[in-house]
């Protein structure tokens, strides 16, 4: 039964992907059912940007649903919520008025909340799941409150709840009004996207949800926050106000660095991927911020380039992150745990999963010739051209973004060496890992298809980037910043930079095969002899002697200890009869989350204190309550 629901969702995904691509390439349509809900009813409108995101959701839903058939096809729990989740995500980009948007947004959040609680309902990790669900619900509704506030203000000031009317009326509003609305909308959308410091729900919710849901949450749901930001900044509240771009640049840079720093020290495979999503959302926000800055500085060509880079990374991240989450789910399914310190040696037990995870890891680390490299390269090229804006303050923000992004790129490589190396290589560190079995066929099909999509997105860069620039041109009209030259080279801003992914892929392939071929021709390949690993002749070599995930991250914990603020705890149990004999030593050095400690904990304390004060009002005495009713009646009579 559940398998049927998942298959139908996969079909829905195929249909949506087709409709989305049609929309990107110019098909326009709209649908309006005025009576179904108050405040202007249900309105759907397809345009280029909506088409891109609908296509993205649809295309991501196909492998995720196929994967779900194998992962959760036998359980009834969660299938309907999943279908509602995908459906709601398809409606969000198409929404044409406030009510449709908010309803679809809330449905999406509720459905994913139910799916996040799956861990509690399955009885696996009830406390963690319940806490994750609660934080997720709070953050998503706080974001929704900001969104509603912004949208309703805009409705009040422009007189209409339709987005199309906002596009027309936007320029007539004052800068202050637009900035206020933008700030509210940004808070709401950034909370959904997972920008620091509104990211706290992401590392809690994504690991506890089942893997196909995590794939969609990380891959496409958080991108809908980016969609909202783009719509708000470039469509509803155009023209762009100068401080919006640098604000997003800063949020993006901080998210990129903070995300990857937390990912590196994590030992839970799926939480590492969740933090890495924050990192990649940071990269997208940097691209978006650059687009807004260039748009405000009246440089439409560069703004288009930045927008294309951001949208390309949105698509790429959806591809490789869903691949990674699916592979991580397969690891959890086969080995029974997500803790990297209990995994290892899975490349021999789960070769398909390992190969797919490797492709995803190479892609997300931004290594050639896969898609992560191309979109990061494009983002860098955009940032490196910031000198055309003659303002030193803006140049400084861009320089910060460049340095931050470069650091995040390097750290991402380290993070995924750890994620792949500790999980899949060497010897298994637990019995569960030693007995792991590979994923069933349909899960493998889904993962391999996504891996091929990553490769296709990279090799097809010369077609995809111009299409994305055209999509962006519907928001920021301007000349196209990219041209395609010989050997499918992508030329950026005339001769500022160029890249030909097929040439790089071909060169790499030849370079790797060349020494092998030469050695074969010269017949210099004596057969290898198998022996144990060199361990200084030690008599016993076990998995206890391997590097663990925590050990691997040790240099980073030391270098960035001002950020992690680890608290060392050392408990030594001595023998009762003599303090010179030690029975047990317990050492803990956990990293702390400064955002939680410096922002949310004080905020929670203030809220609780305020709530305690106002609770005085609820005294429990009916006489006092009657007195309140009387006072309210008097006040209303006086005011009216």
């Amino acid at each position: 039964m559940a398998a049927l629901v998942y298959s139908l969702t996969a079909l829905l995904g195929v249909g949506a992907a087709t409709a989305g691509i049609a929309g990107m390439l110019g098909a326009r349509w709209s649908l309006h059912i005025g009576w179904i809900v108050p405040l202007d009813g249900l309105a759907l409108e397809m345009d280029a940007l909506a088409g891109l995101f609908v296509g993205l959701v649809g295309a991501a839903a196909v492998p995720a649903s196929l994967y779900a058939i194998g992962y959760a096809g036998r359980e009834r729990r969660g299938a309907l919520a999943y279908a509602v989740f995908v459906g709601a995500m398809l409606i969000v980009p198409l929404a044409g008025n406030v009510m449709t948007f908010v309803l679809a947004w809330e449905l999406m959040s509720l459905a994913s909340y139910v799916l996040v609680l799956d861990g509690a309902r399955a009885g696996r990790e009830p406390v963690a799941s319940a806490h994750a669900g609660w934080v997720y619900a709070v953050m998503t509704h706080a974001g929704l409150a900001c969104l509603l506030a912004g949208m309703l203000l805009l409705t009040a000031w422009t007189g209409s709840a339709r987005f199309a009317d906002w596009t027309v009326a936007g320029p007539t509003l004052s800068v202050g009004v637009r900035s206020l609305v933008w700030a509210l909308l940004m808070l709401g959308f950034a909370a959904k996207a997972g920008g620091v410091p509104l990211h706290v729900w992401l590392p809690l919710a994504h690991p506890t949800a089942p893997s196909h849901v995590s794939a969609l949450m990380s891959g496409v749901m958080i991108k809908l926050g980016v969609y909202g930001l783009l719509r708000a900044s470039l469509d509803w509240l155009a023209p762009v106000v100068p401080w919006w771009g640098p604000m997003l640049l800063l949020v993006g840079t901080v998210s990129a660095v903070v995300g990857v720093l937390y990912a590196i020290v994590d030992r839970d495979l799926k939480r590492l991927l969740a933090f890495s999503s924050i990192d990649n959302v940071g990269i997208v926000l940097v691209g978006t911020g650059a687009a807004l800055t260039f748009a405000a500085a009246a440089l439409p060509s560069l703004a288009l380039l930045a927008l294309a880079a951001a949208l390309y990374h949105v698509v790429n991240h959806a591809a490789f992150k869903s691949l990674l989450f699916m592979a991580a789910g397969s690891v959890q399914h086969g080995a029974g745990t997500r803790d990297m310190n209990a995994l290892g040696g899975l490349i021999k037990r789960q070769p398909w999963t390992a190969a797919c995870f490797l492709v995803g890891a190479i892609a997300i680390a931004g290594l050639p010739p896969l898609n992560g490299f191309v979109s990061e390269w494009l983002t860098f090229q955009v940032l490196l051209q910031n000198v055309v804006i003659p303002q030193p303050a803006s140049n400084l923000v861009f320089a910060l973004a460049i340095a931050g992004l470069a650091l995040a790129a390097g750290l991402a490589v380290a993070c995924f060496v750890k994620a792949f190396g500790i999980t899949f290589l060497a010897l298994p560190r637990s019995d569960g890992a030693a007995a792991a079995h590979d994923a069933p066929a349909i899960m493998r099909v889904a993962m391999v298809a996504t891996a091929c999509a990553c490769a296709a997105l990279a090799l097809g860069a010369s077609w995809i980037v111009p299409v994305l620039a055209t999509v962006g041109a519907t928001l920021i009209p301007g000349p196209t910043p990219v041209t395609v030259g010989a050997w499918l080279t992508l030329d950026v801003s005339k001769d500022f930079a160029a890249l030909s992914v097929p040439a790089v892929a071909l060169a790499l392939g030849s370079g790797v095969l060349l020494p092998l071929v030469v050695l074969m021709v010269l017949r210099v390949r004596p057969r290898a002899r198998r022996y144990e690993t060199w361990s200084c002749g030690r008599l016993l070599q076990t998995s206890r002697m391997e590097y663990t995930a925590t050990a691997f991250a040790d240099p980073f914990t030391r270098v960035f200890d001002f950020f992690y603020r680890p608290v060392t705890r050392l408990d030594i149990d001595r023998h009762p009869e003599s303090r010179f004999f030690v029975q047990r030593i317990r050492y803990e050095n956990p990293t702390r989350f400064i955002v939680d400690e410096w922002l949310y904990a004080p905020l929670a304390r203030v809220l609780r204190a305020a709530a305690r004060r106002t609770a005085i009002v609820q005294s429990g005495s009916p006489n006092l309550y009657l007195a309140y009713v009387l006072a309210a009646l008097l006040v209303l009579l006086m005011v009216a």
Partner: protein, 312 residues
Amino acid sequence: MDVVLLALLQAAAVALGAPLVVGTLRTLKARLVGRRGPAPWQPFRDLRKLFAKTPVVSDTTSWIFRVTPYVLVGSVVVAALATPLLSSRPPLAFAGIILLMSLFLLGTFFLALAGLDAGSAFGGMGSSREVAVAALAEPTVILAVFALALRANTTNLGGIVERVAAEPQLAINPAHLLAFVAFFIVMLAETGRLPVDNPATHLELTMIHEAMILEYSGRHLALVEWASAMKLLVFLALLANLFFPWGVPADITPLAMLLGLLALGVKLVVLAGALALLETAIAKLRLFRVPELLAGSFALGVLSVSAVFLFR
């Protein structure tokens, strides 16, 4: 057709020149401490001997271990083809610094995985340290070349070479010199030279790069060592040609390429001499002082970018 010839010539120059550079460095370092030292072409003999040995492969490892030497060589050769070595229009003419650094990171990624693959503590330690150093060196490289790219108005390496060559007074420009020092420090970190890593150490606890290759033998070891020598050569060539690009021809004729080769040779000898002097004179830094060194080079990179804006 010329491009193919240039590609072959450049690949051959790098493949054959790299062991020579490493050998020359060793000889110079030996002479500077009063030893006669090995001949400059000793690495060729070492490689030839290694190719004939039977590799011993650990049964803990997987296919990643055996694929890594080829990936390393492949990525470094492609990086060499993307560098303006013999001409300012290298075979992969579209390349910029980001492609180059990403190619090196690809090699580092696989080598770090190979270090973890054998399941020994040494390998894990080497991998962990190597990726930490590589990650911390990234921002400085991007910023240092950004300083050059700002002035040249292109991130294409060949373009930078041509436009810097057109203005000889840049050699004493503060931004240029600061970027050179920053890039030099990063070169030491990325290629595993003193003071970041001692390539001749036998103490595993002091190793960064060597620890990852302790498990390799025979032809795999030969390929890994060759790739690391080629990486050193490419970095030195980048230092030479990006910052002092006089003598790098633009057109691809045999005479021009020969002249380019000679000019590169001279610059490499000077750089190798400076590197030998530096390595003989200073001691290796404690591992957890290396981030301070890299942070210092990052500060220099930031200064060089600011200097470009100031002296515009």
